[in-house]
Amino acid sequence: MQGFPGNQGKVRGSRAAALNGWILAFLFLAGCNPQEDQDPWKSAEVISAAGTVDATPASMAWSGRPGVKPGLTDRRGTCRAGTRRPDRVRIGVPELLVMVNDTTGQPDPLIDLASYIKSRTGLEVEFVRLNAYPLFTSGLIDGSLQGGLFPPGEYLRARKIDPCIHLVATTMYGTSTTYTTNLVVRRDSDIMVPSDLVQKRVAFSSRSSASGYIYAVKFLADRGLIPERDYIPVFTGGHQETIRAVEIGTVAAGATFGRALNVEMQIGRDLTGLSILAVAGQIPNEPLVFASDLDPDIIRAMTDAFLSLNRGTAEGRKLLGALDLMSGWVRADDSFYDGLMTTVQAVDRIVRSADSGGEIGR
């Protein structure tokens, strides 16, 4: 197993998540912000048809242009077609999209997925499993990623930085193109209704997480609870970490999405000590996004390859069968995420109002 110095011996999948959770819990108690101290690429994995490797500077082929904004708009501000034709296409995927349970000995399903895409497009495809949301945007901007199954909130952030990125499809789970946020609490806690969270600590994964922050804050604000004013927000860096924090009681409640709980149970964790306080939102699923400088033919070929893959076909069922309830991708456009954008803006006002004493600005 290759990797960065200090990343040797990293445990993949469920074991990694479990251990990270405990470490994060310890860091909370110590008053540290784990996300700020983390090397963003430390836990990244690269999965290709050839297998899985840890990310290295060489394998990630840094563009050397970190932070450089793409210049794909003409003088009138409209997007120009990209021309870049890389010899391999790297696609970022959320860590929770495909959890690998090492105990089963099953190969990473993303390997077969990469093979399928390669067979359909003739391009080398690598999936990069990321557990930090900002890496999606920074990877797409600096050229280390050519595409990604973006966390929805992170997509909005990337679109703000580069309005010319291409959203071509959204992910389906079962038959649904949306999902919800869940507010979880300990079953033995005295939190019975959202208003019981006053002056309590509430865990969120990160500020750009739709289910792990945005919709949960909006849900609580609709019931009169403003962050910092009425409850204390705590950022854990990830959904599993949020679940751990609720389990060990360092926070009164945590915001996560339903599939995170499913994944936890799939990897054998006992969540009977938790209960769901509330379910809210209709969040569009992870969009399939490609970089703005990518050649249109490559984007088209990749899009067609992803859209051809769903559980309506025998091959789709075989490839996607290991990916929880993921049933494929369906064509989508940017407007599908307008509702999310509206909610993000509302939450921005809510947070600013908390800074200014609780009055929500318009």
Binding site: T175, S176, R311, L325, S327, R331, S335
Partner: protein, 447 residues
């Protein structure tokens, strides 16, 4: 036909119409509502089935689909009205089905074939084996708005509305019965209210109007309520009171006018028969009275004496003292005649300074004596300026005639008296002369 009967018939008509119409409306409305509810229920149930199997359909978890369909058999699931459920995959292949045996044939209907091609929900009614069936198909599609998505399959279901109708019929019957019951109660209350507040007051008003028409203006109409009928009663009472008052006033006025008219007639009659200056009867009265007394005397065989009296030198008196003094003198002569004659005697002013007196049932001697008494009284009475008369005093001359001695009809009797008067004048005046045969009228004498 009385108003009461009309209202009764009208009410019966309204009740019959309302009951029949309401029953029909309720039944129709309930049935339409029932069908609509049944359709909504069918759609909701099939949507529920689609929702429960859609993820399993997408992931082709046929076992899970089968479990979901088995649950439909459970009467407690609330879906027992679904007579069949058919799950088709994206290629139109049946991957699950739950069907009641008697409806097996429906799975081969055109609707099922259309459902696999339709991109939206379909709903239709069919009659199968005499039963009203609602067929619903729900496509299972994953998509984002306005963009074509992935079709996973189709859920088709059917519901026997007749089963639902049968289940709900007692409820409908109860509802219709209750509605009709409330309607009848409402109609009864309406009739009662109409009778108490409309019919009864109208009857009393009609009775009052009849009494008023019959002249019983003392009767009073009911006016207990403050509504239009009460105001009508009050107005009728006021009208009767006004009529009564007006009639009374009119009667009083008529009585007064009648009295005035009688008085006027009496006065007019008096004026027609009386000499205004002396208060005695005039010549017409004299003539009528003389004729009347003549008829009586002939009938009774009695006598009538007549005096013809003339003021001596009256022209000179007038010339000396003026006509007003002459009028006063004539008036005084009239008063003397009135005061010194019997009630049965009839004195009249015959014309100018001449007077005529009819002495009923009076013989010649008595007539002569009465005439002389009158002459003497006039001579003894004091008249203004009489001393300047030729005889030194105010005097009269009188001629007397008697029926049947001197004349046998009124005109001759008057002529005879007049001749005797002439003789009295000719003899020196201030004397009484009785008619004697052989007397004849001579030339004019000045008074």
């Amino acid at each position: 036909m009385s108003l009461r009967l009309k209202i009764l018939l009208l009410t019966i008509g309204i009740v019959v119409f309302a009951v029949a119409g309401t029953a029909r409306l309720i039944a129709k409305g309930m049935y339409e509502r029932l069908v609509t509810e049944s359709e909504l229920r069918a759609v909701a149930l099939i949507e529920g089935v689609a929702l429960s199997v859609r993820d399993d359909l997408a992931c082709e978890r046929l076992d899970e689909i089968g479990k979901s369909l088995i649950q439909l058999r459970d009467p407690g699931s609330g879906r027992s009205d679904v007579i069949f459920t058919l799950i088709l995959d994206g290629n139109g292949r049946a991957v699950g089905r739950e069907v009641m045996p008697e409806y097996e044939q429906l799975l081969k209907s055109d609707f099922v074939r259309q459902a696999t091609a339709a991109s939206r929900e379909l709903k239709t009614h069919v009659t199968f084996d005499g039963r009203d069936i609602v067929l619903v198909s729900i496509p299972v599609i994953s998509s984002v708005p306005h963009i074509e998505g992935v079709r996973w399959g189709t859920v088709v279901g059917g519901m026997d509305i007749g089963r639902i109708e049968a289940a709900m019929f007692p409820l409908v019957r109860y509802a219709v019965g209750a509605a009709l019951g409330f309607l009848l109660i409402g109609v009864f209350l309406l009739v009662l209210t109409l009778y108490r507040n409309l019919l009864s007051p109208i009857n009393k008003l009609a009775e009052a109007a009849s009494r008023f028409a019959a002249g019983d203006l003392q009767f009073r109409a009911p006016q207990g309520t403050a509504d239009e009928l009460g105001r009508l009663g009050a107005t009728m009472n006021q009208m009767a009171s006004d009529i009564e008052q007006h009639t009374r006033t009119l009667e009083d006025a008529v009585k007064a006018r009648t009295r005035e008219l009688e008085q006027a007639n009496s006065r007019l009659h008096e004026l027609a028969a009386m000499d205004e200056l002396t208060g005695l009867g005039n010549r017409r009265t004299f003539t009528a009275a003389l004729n009347r007394e003549f008829r009586r005397a002939r009938r009774d065989g009695s006598c009538i004496s007549m005096l013809m009296l003339d003021v001596d030198h009256f022209k000179k008196y007038n010339d000396t003292h003026g006509h007003p003094a002459g009028d006063v003198a004539l008036n005084k002569v009239g008063a003397i005649l009135r005061n010194h004659l019997r009630v049965t005697d009839i004195p009249c002013r015959y014309g100018g300074e001449e007077f005529a007196v009819i002495l009923c049932q009076t013989a010649r001697d008595d007539g002569m004596r009465i005439a002389d008494d009158i002459r003497r009284v006039v001579q003894q009475e004091v008249f203004f300026g009489e001393d300047r008369q030729p005889l030194g005093t105010f005097t009269v001359s009188i001629g007397v005639s008697t029926f049947p001695r001197d004349a046998d009809d009124p005109d001759k009797l008057v002529d005879a008296a007049d001749i005797a008067l002439y003789q009295a004048k000719a003899s020196g005046r201030n004397q009484v002369r009785g008619f004697e045969p052989g007397m004849t009228a001579k030339a004019n004498l000045s008074n």
